[in-house]
Every structure is written in structure tokens, then in C-alpha cells.
Symmetry: C2
Amino acid sequence: MKNDRKLEDAVLDIAQRARSAARRLATISSGEKDSALKLMADNLRAQAPVILDRNSTDVERAKQAKLSSAMIDRLTLTEDRIEAMAAGLEEIANLPDPVGEVMRMWKRPNGLRIGKVRVPIGVIGFIYESRPNVTVDAAGLCVKSGNAIVLRGGSEAIESNSAIADVIATSLAQAGLPQDSVQLIRVTDRAAVGAMLKLDEYIDLIIPRGGKPLIKRVVEDSTIPVIMHYEGICHTYVDESADLDQAERICMNAKVQRPGVCNAMETLLVHSRVAEEFLPRIWEKLSAAGVEVRGCDRTRAIVPEAAAASDEDWSTEYLDLILSVKVVESIEEAIEHIGRYGSAHSDAIVTESYGNAQRFLQEVDSSAVFVNASTRFNDGFEFGLGAEIGISTNRLHCRGPMGLEELTTTKYIVYGSGQVRE
Amino acid sequence: MKNDRKLEDAVLDIAQRARSAARRLATISSGEKDSALKLMADNLRAQAPVILDRNSTDVERAKQAKLSSAMIDRLTLTEDRIEAMAAGLEEIANLPDPVGEVMRMWKRPNGLRIGKVRVPIGVIGFIYESRPNVTVDAAGLCVKSGNAIVLRGGSEAIESNSAIADVIATSLAQAGLPQDSVQLIRVTDRAAVGAMLKLDEYIDLIIPRGGKPLIKRVVEDSTIPVIMHYEGICHTYVDESADLDQAERICMNAKVQRPGVCNAMETLLVHSRVAEEFLPRIWEKLSAAGVEVRGCDRTRAIVPEAAAASDEDWSTEYLDLILSVKVVESIEEAIEHIGRYGSAHSDAIVTESYGNAQRFLQEVDSSAVFVNASTRFNDGFEFGLGAEIGISTNRLHCRGPMGLEELTTTKYIVYGSGQVRE
């Protein structure tokens, strides 16, 4: 109990200092922010040996704890990975500053001139797992958009994250920016997250990035608004009018190019009129790429080698070389399936029919809907929006890639000359 | 326990039907939605006697329960008020439909054409108190923006709200729109609100409108995103360079024109260099208008008749003919006071100094910041944005007047020609 209180006080102190840093950060010029980001990049490169040394402690502990090799890989830093982190900061520095942008300005009949201006959100609480490079990306995006950030990484990366946070704090101080703009919660006790989620007076937004249990817990416990980066159960629907060569390229890309990410395809829907021709072709390619196919009965009638899909498969995000496949009678059935089992993340149609393309775009309500392109394009860089802190599956505030603009809010500024309301 | 379960099931049923109605409503044309709104207006006028009759039951009950006369006035409907509700629906019908608007569209080097399109949020849960006309406004704005709405009004207005909801449901059915697009929770048990706040699978957004305890409870209990319409502790700062005639008009308007609303002024800050001249003038006007002044020591040294302000006054939303007044040494002190005690709602400076105007606009981080105009202008109609469902004090999703655009979210549509990711 006493320890809990001490922990709560420590988290409260961090949040209060973040709030105060955010007030100053909001009025700092773009040039100063960019210089600080470039300094961070330089210092990361210079301090690489220290960071690698402390990272090896985390990796050693992970090996002893017998974490999966995928997790250990994500945790491991190298010279190249540190260089990539530094280069990422320089890229963020080169993006336009969203803060202060007047989105619109108009004049009212009474002479008032009203403008809508972008301002920082304030203090962001960022809760994430394992990958230490995320620490740098998130800090860079928040500093650029004028937000203070409270970082809470996974306990398995605590040494790496602490080393990185030290470099960032030093750089901020050197650049004359408030050092508390980027703070890491270094207590690995999970109660620290609970304490953080109640500080709605000091933290304006929580962004959790990680597995479903983490996100579910955050949503349930938080009194602060949460923007989720949830699962992607993404579909590609091959229409009866599809160019099947194109469909094959798009499906293979969506499934195989990087299966462990949220915009990879998990379910393939094929119109019955082209199933006989398309399924054996794609099966051959998928098998060659090591993909396990789990099909509906009609799929298995055409490709008997495929495993049987259970009802659960349709709502499963594999993040792996596994694909569920279903034959549908119509575009209606495809859209209905996507609405029922999908996660409204990224869904695509392959079609040569103008009407079906338009209909799919209108009726599928996902954060990004594609015609004749791979779902893998749902990404801030690929959309031309610059670096992203994640892909929001929320419907509020922002939906899809969350970049610098999405890390801002707005205020109205009103220029008057003595107007009063009648 | 058994009753609770029954109540939960009833609320769940409403939310599920709203979700299904929202899917259909999202694809309905602007013309059909506008026709439905006009039909609602006609039917409200035609059914006025029925609505007035059921309203009188609520009013009678309120009188017996000895509610305040202000509350009874807000609850009471008249022919004129019903006409105003109907006219409001017709105004909403005449506003442009935000749904389907392509906000931007651009082309990527690989030939992908990417568009950002407005779509409805989905299902809105709206929790409000006493005024029955809010039922009509909220339903109208949601139907127009393609959202289904679950209404939960105060128990004191249950008969009036039920009568109005009946008229709306009939009108939707007559117009061929899904009848479940607008539903009222008719169980007055408060546990119904608790049940509603957990249905994040079916409800996308909760908008509470009412007193602080209601909003606090909603934020604490909800697993659904909440957009608050919280208190307005609004300031007017009279700078040393102010035109004092203008300052007088603006202050009187901000305080007196309608003191019971969130954008009315609660605290007046006056620069010490003009306090000797300005305070006696404004005191005279305020007194004549029946305003009670609570001043800091320096204010009372100039206007000894003023009552003494306690520290609590600076953070109090009076919503009444009461004003706290403080003399400040500088614009810095004014901005600092507003940041510390204000609610980031609506704040104004009266000044002839270009530099101070720009500084105030930049450093005061409120939903609307005014130069030489009354804070009372922070309003959807006054800003030229059309009808509003409230004024958001959130930093996420929308800030300030929340109209039709703010009741939408976005999706990306991507037109490809076979692109895959490298």
C-alpha cells in the first residue's frame, strides 16, 4: 500500500513535469525543434556503444527468460539499427511543422475574422512493447508536433529504453528545449501503468501499441482518451471481373511481403465464378511461399490439399504465413463478410467492374479501402503523409496512419473590432 | 440482480439495433435524409397538442417535486417552442451534407490515387438533462450526418422526450429511413446509463451534456470515447492599451447578455495601469445590471463596494450574474492566470497593441481566443458553422463548436491499377 502510494506519486510527478514542459514546448519555433531533433540524431550515433552495451543486458535477460526468437530479434539493437533510428529523426526534422498552420480563415457578416489553427495536443502517454526503436520514433514525432511525451516501454527493454531516454534528455537540454518534454517511466512495476491511466488532469491522450490484452486493459482502465492501434483482419476480395494476373500479384504481396504486420491480408474472398480458375493458381504460389491455407468447404472442393477453416479463422489475425480463404457468391456476400468478421482496418477489391469498385469503396467502412492495390499500402509513408506513430483503428480524432497532423488539435482564433453579440 | 440483467439486455438490444440502423443510414442519400428531417418538422407541428399534453405531466411532476423555477422553465414546452424545434430541423435539412465529401485527393509517385473522405461516426450515445428541445436538435444533427443516435434524457423529461421520440420514429418510418436510427432509452433507472457506457462494441461515441457530476461519472465509467461539453470559466483581459469604451461594451456583453451559458465571462482581468479609470466605470454598469462583483484586494482598493473574492472564485463557473475581478501587473500575469484557473473554453483580450494581441492569441490555449470581441461568440451559428450539438472542451477529435462535420470521421479510399508494395 505504501509502495503503491510512492509509485503513484512518482508517476504523478512525471506527468506534472510533462504538463509544464508541454506549455513551453507549444510556443517553441520550428527551427529550434528541428535543431533539437538533429542533435538527438548526432548524440544517438555518438552514444551507440553505450546504448548497445545496455541493450545487451536486456537481450541476455530475454534469452535467460527464454523469450521467442522473434521477440529477441525485435529487442536486439545493432549499429545499423541505431543508425536507422538517427536517420528517422533527421527525416522527421525535415517534415513540415504542423503547429501554427491556419487550416482555414473566414470572415463573418459582422466583420469578425475567424481562423482555425493547429496546436499541439499537449501531453501524450505512450505505452508500448519490446522494440526500442519505437522510443525514438515516438519521441521525435511528439517533439516535432510540440507535444510532451511520457513513455512507458516494456520491462524487457528497460535498459535499452533508459539508455535512449538519457540521450534524448541530454539532447533536449543541450538544444535549450524543456528536458521534461520526453520522459520515460523507469519503474517496471505494472501498477505504474494503472496510475498513469488516471491522470487525466495532466495527460491528454494515451496511445497504446501492443497486443490485444494490453490495449483492452488500457481502454478499460483509462479515464484519458485512448487512440488504439488494434488488430488488422484485412481482406482481399477477388471479384468475378478481376484481372487474375493482377489479383495474384496483389494477393501474394498482401499476404507474403511482410506477414507479421497489421495491414497484411488475413482472409482471401474469391467470387465463385472465378474460383475454379483462380484458387489452384494462387494455391500453388502460396504453397511455394510456405503459406498455410485454411479454406471453406467450397475452397476445399477445388483445392482438396487445403486445411479446413473453422468459424474462428474468419475473425483471427494470424500475423503469420497463414491465410483463410472463402468462396463467395456475390460482392454483397463479400462486403457482408468483411463487415461481420473484419476489423475495419484495410480491405481491398480486385475488379475490372467500375460499378463494383465504386460500390466496394462506398460500402466497406474501413480505415483504408483499396481498389486494385495491396492492403500493405495502408501506411503513413506509403500514403505520402510522412512518419507515423501507428495506424489508428479508432473512429474518433483520426483513423488510419497517425502522423504529425494527427498529433495536433485545433483552436479558433478570432480577430474582432469591438463586436458584441446581439 | 435479475432486474439489472433485464435492464442490461434492454439497453444492449437498443444499441445493437442502432448499429444495424447506422450501417444502412450511412449509405442513404442526402435528399432522402433531408426529406425525413422536413417530415419530422411537419409531424412535430401536427402532433404539438399530444406533445404539450405529455409535457404537462412532466411539468406537474416537477412542480410537485419542487424543482427550481429555472429548471421548470427549461422543461416547459409551448406552441412557440415546438415551432422553434420544427424550424431548427428545417434549418439542419438546408445545411450541406458532410458525408461523402472528399476532403483531399492526391496522387503518389507509383500512380496510386488516395482520397480522404468524410463518413459517419456510426452510433452516438447522447446523455443529457432536462430540456426536451435538445432531443430534437441532437436527433436532427445525427440523422443529417448519417449517424444513429441512442438518446438518454433526464427522468424529469421522460414523458416529453417519449412523445417527441415517437414522432421522430414515425417520421423516419414514413420517410423510408431505418426507424432505429433514433431511439430513446425509456427506462429511467440510472443503471441504464452504466449499461450503455460499456457497449463499446455497438456505440462509437458518448456525448454527455449536463452538470459536472454527470460528466465526471460518464468519463469514469465509459469504455467508449467521450466528447465532453464541460464548464466554461471564461476570461476577458482588459489590456493597458485597451480602448476602454470598447472594453466596457465587450465586458458587459460577455457577462450580462446571457449569463447562464458556458461562453459567458466569469472573470475580468484588468491591467493595473488602466484599473483606476476602468474599474469604477465598469462597476457602475455592472451594478446597474444587477451583477455581484467579487474583487481581489487591489480591485477593492479602487472599488470598495465590491465583495472580496476568495481563491475559489477564480476557478468557479457562476453561470449567474456574478463576476470575479482581478487587477494584474502585465499581460504575462493575465495569460498565466488564465492558464492556471481557466477551463480553456473561451477567453478574450481587449487591446490596441498589435504585439499583445498576437501574443494572447498564441499563448492562450483555449478552444476559442478572441481579440476585441465578446466571448459569447464561441458558438456554431455565430462562427458560421451551422447548428451544433454542443461546444467540445476535449482536445481530441474536435474542439469548440461541434456541428455536422465534427459528427463525421474519415476513411481513405485508394484507386490503384495493380500496385504492390516493394
